[in-house]
Structures are given as structure tokens and as C-alpha cells.
């Protein structure tokens, strides 16, 4: 079962949980549209997370562990922001799942 997200007049296929089916369909507009659907406006700090996720995924074919992510964000945005509490402020549905969806990555699976 799949549906679609409309980005600038183009219908992009997403799965039942709203994750892009074809990772190559992603562009920055996709993240903005998905965030708008969750009544969220992406700030520079959101983009730091999204860009880190995409870079990490490109290298390792998987999303980073929460600790890897918080450490990287702490280095970029300052130690007071290098914790999962801050990431939950940015992405209230959970940094791993919500941020991955905006970044066009598959949903992390497992006991998480």
C-alpha cells in the first residue's frame, strides 16, 4: 500500500508511513513539504540534522545511532545542543524517525 506526497506539482511515491519509496526522489522541497504537513517550519538547525543524516547515510547505508547524531550536532551547534532532548525539541516525533523521513531515508527498523 503506497500513497504520494505532492512536491511542486510532482507526485512522489511514499509508503504507508510517509517515507519516500525512491530515495532518489528527494530534494530540499520534499523535506519542507513533509515538515509543513506536520505544521513544522524547518530552521537552519533542522537542516544541520537533516544534512548530517543524509551524509551519514550516503557513507554507511544506514541512519546514525542517536549518540553519533547528538555528538555531531553538539560539535556543529554547541555542546548545549548535543543531546537527545534538544533533538526531540526539533523533531517531536523522535529524531531517528521523523528526521529520517524528512531526509528521504528509509525508516529505521528494529527494537527502537
Amino acid at each position: 500500500m503506497t500513497s504520494a506526497v505532492a512536491v511542486k506539482g510532482k507526485e512522489l511515491e511514499v509508503d504507508e508511513e510517509g517515507y519516500l519509496v525512491n530515495l532518489g526522489d528527494w530534494n530540499e522541497d520534499v523535506a519542507n513539504v513533509m515538515a509543513a504537513e506536520d505544521t513544522l517550519t524547518l530552521t537552519e538547525n533542522h537542516w544541520e540534522v537533516i544534512n548530517f543524516l543524509r551524509d551519514y547515510y550516503a557513507e554507511y547505508q544506514v541512519a546514525p545511532a542517536i549518540r553519533v547524531l547528538t555528538k555531531a550536532i553538539g560539535k556543529k551547534l554547541g555542546p548545549e545542543k548535543g543531546n537527545s532532548k534538544y533533538l526531540y525539541e526539533l523533531f517531536p516525533y523522535g529524531p531517528a524517525k521523523q528526521a529520517c523521513r524528512y531526509a528521504g531515508l528509509p525508516k529505521p527498523t528494529g527494537c527502537i
Binding site: 500500500m1 504507508e16 508511513e17 554507511y60 547505508q61 544506514v62 546514525p64 545511532a65 542517536i66 549518540r67 553519533v68 555528538k71 537527545s84 532532548k85 526531540y88 517531536p92 516525533y93 523522535g94 531517528a96 524517525k97 529505521p108 527498523t109 528494529g110 527494537c111 527502537i112
Partner: protein, 498 residues
């Protein structure tokens, strides 16, 4: 916390048996497996044309294989002892979540096809044909059972609803109606080696980061070795220990214990997963395939011992099934338990005085402990009856000054499930998960009120993730969940042997 479109149950002075709400959870069902998830496990990609016949034949096959299943289906006398024991019933009030009603979804079809009375007078004995409506109920309500087996503790015949729900799910897979969450994950284990789909290089990168973190925090070089041939111990943790919080703090705790014990240990990139979701779908062949990866890794790395991390159902599979599933493990050192739980490993060191633990390190916490269902009701630890209850508490008490148990009818063998076990830890089931957690959260609420408890320790990756997600719905912070080995890791005095 995310917004909710359902009512979160209220915490009260005590847990009440709910008013009946027929059909309250009739719409709850997890996403179905896509053709590619089914195909990866060799299951039909979609509902097969003559599915009713195939389903009944599969039930017959299972009855022939598992004598226990027939006993469970035959012996219920409708006494009602189980009716108010299931956390999903207590949280939702849906009468179909009474264990007896859940069993009857399969029992009615069993009676129709495998008993004389059911063949001749179906209506008199509650026998039913399997039609499309009943099939939907199977899918919905057999995915509202976390296979925790609390009901079976109270059943005078010991009827095991988990075994019935596993059989039902196996039949569903056989006719092409699989569950996405479980089947996608099992396929990832076959392809990559863990539930997360974490490939070797990502695992190595994560472990390097942990070595840096521990060095920074303690000044000590604690190693997280990967694929080291000839190590003494192969550690098999749930892969959530590499990824999620507070799981990863538990992994740091294991590493500190091994460091301090001076034992050469290793993780395996080939078998980097203790969890075995094939148990949740009742499929022996899949369960065997997952278990054999671990055997293979142990042989390839030439280890002498296998130690299992904090994962509830993994310990059930390892303790109860490994020997016949993937054994014999005669290549391991017979002087140690095969397999051994990390809690047993650490307990032995504490008992021998080989670990120095500063309890003050955890003085900012008042701790309680959640017994995980599979550990509590399907396994043992150590060499004493009830060791699975004693040993984890012994570790916590050796690491903390402030420990308080929850109410006696909610712990030990009567423990309540976290609400996310048995392959139900998936976002689309969030209403079920939140409501099913009610009995446990109520007991936690009581010790928070009475003793000022701040943290709940757990020894299962599913429990930890489930609580982290659902506690905030009840107004309890997500970071009040901790790993048992996180507490040990906080307290352990590194590098001072004298």
C-alpha cells in the same frame, strides 16, 4: 511528544478492571507485509486463492507437530481466570482482548475441522468456518497479543496463549498475510545480520565513537572489539544497543564489565543481533536460520563462550531453544553456561568480589526494576530457582543505594508486559502500546508516589524502547528508563585492582 487521537487511560490510586467496551480495538491492526517482505522469507506474496483450505491444512500440520497446541485448544473450560490478566484487556476494555476470547478465534476453527462435535453440530460447540470476517479478526487480535504469557500463569490448565498466537501468525504467513514490522526485520537479519540493517562499517564507526566517549568520560581505554578472532567471549547484544537510548548506555556497561574482568571479548559484524523475531511469527525454520548465524559467528571467531546481552525474547530463544535449534554447542567451553546471560556474567564477578562498585555514582536515582516477560516466564538465570528475578536485582542493588520493588502482583512471574513485546513495537500500533502499558505504568506510578522512585531499569531492548516512547503519554519523562548495565557501568570503578 506527538499528538494523540485517542484517550490516554488515567492513572488512579489502584488499577481497576475496566468496563467492557466491545469492539473498542476492532480497527487496530499493524501494516501488512509488502510482497517483497513476504518473498524474502519464502512466504506467498499476497493472499492465496484458496486461503481457507490452506489455512486449515496448515493448522492440521501444526497440530501434528506441536502436541501442546492441541492440548491448549482442547482443554479450556471457560473458567474465566484469565479474563482480567491481560494488559491489553486491562488497558482497552475490549472483551476480545481477554485471553480466552483471543484463543477462541483459533479454537473455533479448530473445533470446526478437527473435532467430531464441531464437524457435526458446529453451532452447539462454538465451531466456526474461517471466513473473511474471522480472518480480519485473526489479523487484528493476534497482533494485540504480545505473547507475554501472563495469562498462562493464572490459567488452571496452563494454556499458553502465546503459543496459540504464534500458531495463528504462522498460518497467516502461510496464506500470504504477513506483518510488515516483523517480516521486514527478519529479512534484514538474513541479509545484513541485525534488525536495524546496520552494516559492518557503520557498526565499526559506532563502536569507535563509543571508545572515544568512554575515554573522554573516564580517562580509561575501554575497548569495544569487533570481529576479533580467538577472543574468549562472543557477545551477542540486541542491535538496539548500538543505536538507541538508554540501550547504548547498557552496552557501555557491558564493555566496562569485560574490561574490568580482563576477559578478551568481541562483537561480530556477521551476527550482531540477539533478537530473533521469527519466534514472534511462530516460524521454526526462520528462527533456526537466525540462530544459526550466531553459531556460525562463534565457530568462525573461535570463541569459547557466548554471552547474550539485555534482550528479553533473545534470552528465551537462547536459553530455551538454541541447543536443539542450532546446537550442539560442544565447541564451546563446557565449564561455563551455554549460553550465558550478561547478567549472570556480571553477577559472578560481583559475587567473587572481582568488581568494585561505587553505589554513590547512582545516588541521584531511586530505582525500580521491570521484569521482562520472556525472561520472567520462560527462562532462568544462575543456579537457583527464580534466579531470573534475583540476579538482575542483585546487580542493581550492588550498584545503587536506593532500590524499591513495584507491587508484588506486577513483578516476578506475574510481571506485566511493557505493552510493546511480541512484534508489536511499531508506530501504527501506538494506541495499543500506550493502553497496554497501563498496568505497568500504574505500578510505576505507585512507587513514584510512595517512595519517590525516579528511574525504572529494564533488561530488554523492546521494553526500553517501548517505555521511552509511551511513558511521556502518562506524564513520566522518557529518560526515567535505564538499562541494568547502565547502572553497573555508572558504578564500576575502572582500573583499580587493588
Amino acid at each position: 511528544m506527538a499528538k494523540t487521537d485517542f484517550e490516554v487511560p488515567a492513572l488512579r490510586d489502584y488499577l481497576r478492571t475496566p468496563d467492557l467496551r466491545p469492539g473498542a480495538m476492532a480497527k487496530s491492526a499493524p501494516f501488512k507485509a509488502a510482497p517483497r517482505h513476504q518473498q524474502a522469507l519464502g512466504f506467498p506474496e499476497a493472499l492465496v486463492p484458496d486461503w481457507e483450505r490452506v489455512a486449515v491444512a496448515k493448522l492440521g500440520d501444526l497440530l501434528g507437530k506441536y502436541r501442546s497446541l492441541r492440548v491448549h485448544l482442547d482443554s479450556c473450560v471457560k473458567c474465566g481466570a484469565c479474563t482480567d490478566k491481560c494488559h491489553y484487556f486491562l488497558g482497552t476494555g475490549d472483551p476480545k482482548n481477554m485471553p480466552v476470547a483471543r484463543q477462541d478465534l483459533l479454537r473455533s476453527v479448530y473445533r470446526r475441522h478437527f473435532t467430531l462435535a464441531g464437524k457435526l453440530f458446529p453451532r452447539l460447540v462454538g465451531a466456526r468456518d474461517l471466513d473473511a470476517a474471522l480472518l480480519d479478526e485473526w489479523y487484528g487480535y493476534f497482533h494485540q497479543c504480545s505473547q507475554c504469557r501472563r495469562c498462562s500463569v493464572f490459567c488452571p490448565y496452563g494454556i499458553d496463549t502465546a503459543e496459540i498466537s504464534m500458531a495463528a501468525r504462522e498460518i497467516l504467513d502461510e496464506i500470504g498475510v504477513g506483518q510488515k514490522y516483523c517480516n521486514e526485520i527478519i529479512a534484514k537479519v538474513h541479509a545484513i545480520g541485525n534488525n536495524l540493517g546496520l552494516p559492518g562499517p557503520a557498526l565499526a564507526n559506532t563502536l569507535e565513537g563509543l571508545e572515544e566517549d568512554v575515554k573522554e568520560a573516564t580517562g580509561v581505554d575501554v575497548r569495544f572489539p569487533l570481529d576479533v578472532e580467538g577472543a574468549e567471549v562472543l557477545l551477542i547484544p540486541p542491535s538496539a544497543d548500538f543505536f538507541a537510548e538508554p540501550h547504548i548506555d547498557g552496552l557501555i556497561g557491558y564493555a566496562k564489565v569485560f574490561h574490568q574482568a580482563g576477559v578478551r571479548w568481541t562483537l561480530s559484524s556477521y551476527a550482531s543481533e540477539a533478537a530473533n523475531f521469527a519466534m514472534f511469527i511462530g516460524n521454526y525454520a526462520q528462527m533456526r536460520k537466525v540462530a544459526l548465524r550466531i553459531r556460525q559467528a562463534a565457530i568462525d571467531l573461535k570463541v569459547k563462550r557466548i554471552v547474550v546481552g539485555e534482550c528479553g525474547h533473545a534470552w528465551r530463544v537462547a536459553y530455551g531453544f538454541w541447543n536443539t535449534l542450532a546446537g550442539p554447542f560442544d565447541f564451546l567451553d563446557p565449564r561455563y553456561p551455554v549460553p550465558q546471560h550478561i547478567v549472570e556474567f556480571t553477577y559472578d564477578l560481583i559475587r567473587r568480589g572481582a568488581l568494585k562498585l561505587d553505589k554513590e555514582a547512582n545516588d541521584h536515582m531511586k530505582v525500580t526494576f521491570h521484569d521482562s516477560c520472556n525472561v520472567a516466564r520462560a527462562t532462568r538465570m544462575g543456579d537457583l530457582p527464580g534466579g531470573q528475578f534475583v540476579l538482575p536485582r542483585a546487580l542493581i542493588k550492588a550498584s545503587c543505594n536506593h532500590y524499591f520493588d513495584m507491587a508484588p502482583d506486577t513483578i516476578g512471574e506475574k510481571t506485566f508486559c511493557c505493552g510493546g513485546g511480541g512484534g508489536l513495537l511499531t508506530d501504527e500500533l501506538i494506541e495499543l502500546r500506550v493502553k497496554g502499558a497501563l498496568p505497568r505504568v500504574q505500578a510505576l506510578h505507585e512507587v513514584r508516589q510512595e517512595h519517590g522512585v525516579t528511574h525504572m531499569a529494564a533488561i530488554c531492548a523492546i521494553c526500553k524502547s517501548q517505555f521511552t516512547k509511551v511513558l511521556p503519554y502518562y506524564g513520566i519523562p522518557m529518560d526515567s528508563v535505564v538499562s541494568v548495565h547502565q547502572l553497573v557501568g555508572n558504578a564500576i570503578r575502572l582500573g583499580t585492582s587493588s
